[in-house]
Each structure stands twice: as structure tokens, then as C-alpha cells.
Amino acid sequence: MARMDLISFKGLRLDGRRANELRQIRCKMGVFSQPDGSAYLEQGNTKVLAAVYGPHEIRGSRSKALHDKALVNCQYSMATFSTGERKRRPRGDRKSQEMSMHLRQAFQAAIRVEVYPRSQIDIFVEVLQADGGNYCACVNAATLALVDAGIPMTEYVVACTASLANGDVPLVDVSNLEENSGGPNLTVAALPLSGQVALMEMSQRFHLDHLPKVVECALQGCRDIHQILDQAVRRHTEMSGSALGWGNRAQVDL
């Protein structure tokens, strides 16, 4: 069979999106009552749950406590039913550990840890269905959960992937099929308003000539996702706020 063209000559990808269009994002905050903050995010077919506990006392050894900052602890796990073939080890395998470290790196950049010295903030992320861009969906969901938990952050942390089709057209937000087709993938976790990058990961080498446009594509994707997440947060605040009767009754308009 012929090699799949990631972008047809009409400018459409395999699933019908154009090169610069994101997948459909749906999210909901405050889905669990027990954790301090929680969120559920779907990016295309990738579905992720995030839960945030904290800030609280350091569990386990007191020696790990930092005297002037909070400790950020992340755990990434994939459900056994999340991929096409059943996964045997949901957590503790190498890839999950690596992802947890990357999540930690991304959030350390944005959470105002100096506000809570000697304490710990836990972020748990569970992937329910994996269809490409797992890390990004996790970062986005965790951001929403942190906002829901009320933990102060300098900015939203938003992540997005980008890749190259046919050698020179940058695609944003790649699905599993496009990831596996062999092109190079770039994952960027950024603070969109200030334009700073918290984490950048490339899956393969690619030519220096293409790098700037792929990075720019991913950053633009981050800005677009930021808008969506921001709207979601405002909507959630309005709804929960109006339900509790915050602010002037006359001003609240649903």
C-alpha cells in the first residue's frame, strides 16, 4: 500500500483537519469532590483526568522538605485499557516515570512555590484513552485542576505538539496515527502570554531549516489552547459562583 500522505494536495489531513487546526477540546473542572482540585480534559480522542492535592504537609520523610519552597510531586499513569492493546503495567514503568519528571519540570516553572514553604503539592494524572499528544493533554488538564484547587500560578501552562508533513508543512496537534507515521514530533510546554517555554522535546532529529517554523506552529497552538482553557475556567467560575451567590445578584448574568 502506498505510504500515507499526512497532508493531501487539497490541504486536508487524514482526519479532515487543515494543517493549523487543533483537535476538538472539551473540558470540565471540579469533577471530583475529594481532591482539592480536579479536571477532565478531552483532546480529540485522548481523554485525561487530573487531580490535585495540596498544599499539605510533606508525607513520608520530613527531610525532603524544602525550607523556602513547596515540593511539587507529579505522577503520570495510563489506564490498562487506554491503548489499542491492553497495557500490563499502569504505573512505575520507565515511560511513566519519565513523563512524571517532565510534568514536574513544566509545573515548577509556573506554580508560585515560594508561597508555601515546607509543604507539598501533589498532581495525579491518569490517561483514560491515549490517541496521541498524551503529555499535552496531561499538562492542560493539570493546569485546569491547579486552577480549580486555587493554587497560585504565574500563568497557565499549556502544551501542544507539532510535526512536519511531506517534509515541509508544519502540522499542529498530531494524533497517534500521524505520530507513528515516522515524521519528527516536537512537544512544547509553554507559558503562552509571556511566550516562555517550560519544556521542549523532539522525538527525532530534523533539519535546522525547519525548526523555527515548527516551533512557531507549536507555540501558536499553545496560544489557541490557552484561549480555550481560559474560557473554560471563566465559564466554570461563573457557574459555580452564581450557584453560591457570589457577587451582586443583579450583576450576575448567565
Binding site: 502506498a2 487539497k10 482526519d15 476538538q24 480522542n45 492493546e85 490517541d131
Partner: protein, 733 residues
Amino acid sequence: MWTTKTFLKKRKGSVLKIVREHYLRDDIWCGSDICTICAHQNEELVLEKNPQPKNKKFPFPHYIVLDTCVVLNQINVLEEDALCNVIVVQTVLEEVKHRSSSVYKRLLDIVGNPNRKFYVFVNEHHKDTYVEREPGEKVNDRNDRAIRVSVAWYESHLMSSQADRRKRDRVKVILLTDDVDSKQKAENEGLHVATISDYVRNVEDCPGLEDRLSQHNTTYELQAGGREPLFPAHFTPSQIHQGIKSGKLLQGSFLASRENFLEGQVNVEGQDKMILVQGRVGLNRAVDGDIVAVKLLPEEEWSVPSHMVLQDEGDDSDVLEEENAILKSKDERVAKLPTGHIVGIIRRKWRQYCGILQKNPIEGSVRHIFVPAERKVPKVRIETQQADILSSQRIIVTIDSWPRNSRYPLGHFVRALGTIGDKDTENEVLLLEHDVPHSKFSEAVLSCLPKLPWVITEKDVQSRVDLRHVDICSVDPPGCTDIDDALHCKELENGNYDVGVHIADVSHFIRPGTAIDKEAALRATTVYLVDKRIDMVPELLSSNLCSLRGNEERFAFSCIWELTSEAEIVSTRFCKSIIRSRQAMTYEEAQIKIDDLTQNDTLSKSLRGLNSLAKILKKRRIENGALVLASPEIRFQVDSETQDPIEVEAKKLRETNSMVEEFMLLANIYVAIKILEDFPECAMLRRHPKLPVSNFEPFIKAGRNLVCYQPLSVYTATIHCKINQGICMVLVT
């Protein structure tokens, strides 16, 4: 606007459920100039506003929508200019891509040509024309339904923009399909539909179009119906698959024998010996090049290749002669080869064949036999109305099918090349049969050429080494316009020589990935015919800007050595340079300059220096075990008026030929050393390994039939043939 597609994929015993996203859009336009609703860009307005109806059966203006089978089977009809304003729906495009990549490529070429007015409509992602597979519906039925839905959508979509037109000027949409079921359903839904043969037969002003119709499922089967099958049935694909998995059947490619039309060999991957197949039952309708499944016969039935040269003298009748009589004369001395029967065809590798028409002796008949130029290919039965005109022409025919009850495969006429025996036609046949691309360069390629007048800019001078002061010259065959190499040799103060080889810098003009680069990669070489030259790159580059002409400044890539007078290399350097070749000489002129001792200008001195160094280099190479592989070439002298050849002469090999060769080899060697050093992982190098003994077997076999034959072990061999005495002597060193 967002749905999911789920399907099951069976792989290696396990079943995987795959879920994919599928987005439906509202920004896919219909591509028609009539439409007032869609917001088209200018280049998207492909379909005409007033398509001219040229069909007797459908006298109103219309667009055409094609079914998959029509595209796959009738691609030749589509390539003719008669059909325009055609909508290719994405469902059809994807299926064609999946089933046949060669037809897909040809379809893409037609779509890419703006004069043909073919529009690709992305119906799978359009929110109104997306069709989901109903439970219990087969994939093919779903695709047919998707095509019908698109046709209906086009009708209603265009109708709303045409309210102001008169009824008989309104553009309608016609579906062309050969599938009986689909046709019936379309008629029930009120769509205009026709079979491709119906439509083509009624097209006005295009008489040859009907001949190009492929005979896939029609008349022949009916006419030859009552006859007995001549060949055993092929196994079904699943039986073949099972047979190969269990090891009972072997897969390989079939190579027909050039001498004997009833014999061939199957080359199985991984096995050294070929499997012999003989006889009509053994060959079972395989054509040279096909990938076949072969069943090995038990050892008692193994046979030897026939030593007779047989040609197919048969006529049109479907009766097989007695084969045993034909296959007699087996050489008992030769060991028996594994023999088998071909039981199924895994993949046909049919292509277009050149040849001539063998007219049917019966007057007024439309069925004729086509005899291909390639002897390995069987004769083909075709139908054509134009037999009288075509019988004196070279034609191209392609094979459609080979039913069990027909002695020859069935095919159809594609196009005529010209009169038999006409020099241009025969040239064309040779080029086509040997797969040499010789069409004109496309617009895309020509647009990659630099604009004239070409000047050397300041930037160029700064980024390249200026060697315009060096006395460089080039030596080439007479009449050569694409001069690609030049040399120079200068004596230095310390007694050593400064020698340089300068190669035309084509990479300055041709950048990777451009259209001209791809076309050159496809052509791979310039083909030199007696009177014509088929260029690899357009003439502007090959004969002008990339040709190191005398007294013109050109860009080059130089390899410069410092050599002692004993041709020992002291140092090497490579650089991009600008040169001005002083003179472009022929081999003869250069030889005269060397030999004539009264000439003492710098060029003559450099040539003499190069010559003496070359001799030393050559001697050293031969001592190290180099092979001299070149065979003598001949040149035709063509009469300038009648263009007929009047004389043949062998090319004389002078010292200057050898001189140029030595320095080119030296340059190759040092470039190889350099790129291996710098790019060890991806340097492309060339080597000549030791020859395997089996390469000499056909030669030894032929020699056996002559008087003296001795088994020899061969290492390096210099072969002298005394042809006029009919003796071959093999000298071994």
C-alpha cells in the same frame, strides 16, 4: 461536525479495534464556476460555467462523476482529451490509490492538467455528503452509496444557482458506472446514469475513443462462451496464501524464455536455482514479469530446459497443438532442474507493449492479433475498427485479461506511434521498450532554470575560488556540446606539478527537491543515440551554463593535487571555483598538440605534462590489478542529406583518451577518500568485487558447442575472440 470511525483490523492472529477521528467541514467548495453559494478562490473554479455538450445521448450541458471501476479499467479513455468537466470524488481517489498505484499516478497527472477540468471533490469530509456505513453493509456498497449521495448533492447544489437559466441550458450531473447494481439504484433515485461504453460510443468528433475501451467484462466472454477451457483454473488468493504459508507453493517472479515461447523460469526469492516451467499447462497464462505461485513437481517429473528455439506460429484458433512434439530434444548430459507448474498469479505486472498488428485474414472482422516487439511477451487479441490504417503502423497495446478459454490474452489499443520502418517511429519503440523517459521537459522543470542573461555576481566571486587565470583546457569527443570536465597542469618551482580536474558545478543551478532535480533523478542519465541526444537536464544547462565551453567563464568544482614527477600525490585540495577554459579540444586535436614538438604554448606543455603523468598512473593501476573493461565502440557516419548511415568506423583509442580517463579516475579515488573521511555513515562508494564463477556459465555452455572445450578455473581473464576462425580462446592469468 466531529464523528469517529471505528473499524476492526486483523493482524497476526489478533483483532485490533481502531478508532479514528473524522472531522466534517463546512468549507469544502464544489469547484464549479456556475455556483453562487460557495466562496471559491480563483484557482479552485475548475468546472466550466457552460460546458459544451458533445454527446448524442446526453445533449444537455453536463458534468461527469466517475465510479472506481471505471477509473481503474478505463484510464486510457480518460487520458484522451475528449472528456472534460469531470468530478473525481475523494472516495474514488482513495480506492484507486489503494488498488493500483500506477493508475493513481496517471489520474493525478490528468487532474494536475488545468486544461482537462478535472476537479477533486472531498466528499468524505463534507458535512452534507459524508455517509456512514450501515450495519451489515459491505464496504464496496457503502462507497457506491457515497458516490451516489455526492451526485445527488451536486445536482441540488447547482440547481439553486441556476434558477435563472433556461431549462435546456441547465447543467446536470451524470454518473458513469459499470456496476449493474449501482446503476439500478441510481436510476431509482432519479439520477442521470450511464455505462462508460454507452457514453463513449456516443461522443461526437472523437472516432478513436471507442477503441480505447478496455474489454474487461464484455463481449469476449460471451462469444467464446461455449468453448472448453484450455488452461487449468488459477487458485483463489486465499488458497495461494494458504499454500505459501504451509510451504506447498512457492512465490517468485516469472521470467519467460526468449527462445522458446513454451518455456520459462520462476525465480524464487532466497533460492539459488530457478524453477523450470514448461508447456502451456505449466505456464498457465503467466506473462513475463508477473509474480506467480508455483507448485513443485515430484523429482521423477523434473525436466531439462529445451534446446530448441521456438516461435509462436499459431493462428487465431483456440486449439492447442501437440506439445510433446515441440518440446522434444532434451540434452541428457545436463542435470535435471527442479520443475513445477504455475498454479496462480499473485500479481500481474502488465505494462504497455509496442508492436505491430497482424490483421485477421477474414475481411471486415474487428478482432485482430497484436504481435509485441518484445519476444518474451505473448501475442494479444484486440478489437479495433481502424485495422486498415493501423496495419502499417507501430502501435501500443495493453493487456486487460486472460480468460481460461482463450489462447491469447485480451487487450486494447492505446495509441499509434507511426509508420513501421520510419526512423523516428522505430526510435520511439526502442525508447519505450527500454523504459527511457524521453518526453519534453514539463513547465515545472523549465521554470526552475535560471533566467538569461546569466552573469557572475560579486557574491559569487567572493564565495568561490577564482581560477580564471589558470590555463585550463578540455578534451572531448568531436561534436560534444555538453563538456563536463576540464584539466590543467602547471609545473611548480620545486619540480612538482600542480594538476587540477574541474567538473562543471551543476549543483549551483539544480537544488535538491526541485522539479528539475526530480526529473533528472528519474532520467538518471543522458541517452546518446546515433543522431539524437536525450538530455537529462534541459539544454540551457547541459550545453550552455553547465558546459565548460572554450573561452567562457563557468562555475566548476575543482580537485587540485600537487604531484611529483613520478605521479606521487603530495597534497590534495577541493574547492568551488570559477574557471575560464582556454580551449575545448577533441581527442585528435589534443593528440596533435602533444605530438607536434614545434608547438610550445602553455596548453601544449600542460597536455604533455598530463600525458606523461597519466602513463605513470595507468601503469601503477594495472600493476595493482585493475581490469580493462571497455569494449570497442563504433561511430556511424550519417549522410547529411538523406540522414542515412553511409559508413561505420571503430573509434580509435588514442593516448589522450587514456589521459583523460586516468585523471577522472584519480579524482574519483580522492573524492571517495575525502567523503569517507567526512561522512563515514552515508558516503556512497563504488567497488568492483571479484566476479562469481557462475557469471561465466552461459559463455562456457556456448563454447561447449564449438570444437575445443576445457574446463577452466577463472580468476582474472582477458578474453580474445578470433571470430573469423570460429574459435574462442580463454587466457587465464
